[in-house]
Symmetry: C2
Subunit: 135 residues, 2 copies
Amino acid sequence: MKSKISLITLGVDDLNASRQFYEKLGFKLAVEENLDSVVFFELSTSGMLFGLFPKEKLAEDSQVPNDGAGFPGFSLAHNVSSPEEVDKVLEEAVAAGATLAKAGEKVFWGGYSGYFKDPSGFLWEVAHNPFMDLT
Amino acid sequence: MKSKISLITLGVDDLNASRQFYEKLGFKLAVEENLDSVVFFELSTSGMLFGLFPKEKLAEDSQVPNDGAGFPGFSLAHNVSSPEEVDKVLEEAVAAGATLAKAGEKVFWGGYSGYFKDPSGFLWEVAHNPFMDLT
């Protein structure tokens, strides 16, 4: 695993309200499409994006129940170059003491991803995105 | 406010255990001192750090009770060049719809910082750090 965060995604209550809030603060959209589903802002920290996603959807995507206890409400993403590398990083994380939340699988947006929880329960998505290079 | 995250800090349950976990995964320390208090890892995303801090201490620092409800358990930081700019960004955030969690003040580590909560309750620290340039 490289010392890298590719994306931080906040699971928000109201996607439009949150997008408008961050736009008012000066954040610039990285992607103009599908703003009703997911929002990506550019960051001056190169190679990294800041995302907003409805909290319920993030819970569903990571297969961690949004019950206020085990679900941290946001995720860090670590992007890699292939589905095989996703599986490898998930294995490494589990070997280091992580808990597998979701094994790597093909996902609705066309990539391949899985999730692990760190020792405090924070969620990391390990992803291969063939459309956007965040490795 | 620039479109920038300077630092993401996870409020962890066991600082040593979490440091060891991330070191096993390949994260490199940015600072070698005071590892019993706070841990900073380098990221390949330039100008940004990844921090670990005991959850209770993060709650205390942000003046948000660690009651499992209103406390997200991590913070994003936006660093600026002066204490005056901290106050200005906090004002801007409140004007855009944020809630002030802690007004700007001199803090124990020698800098000046305050916190706001975004519309979903996520915590942002706005900080001036005279020792480490993360602006």
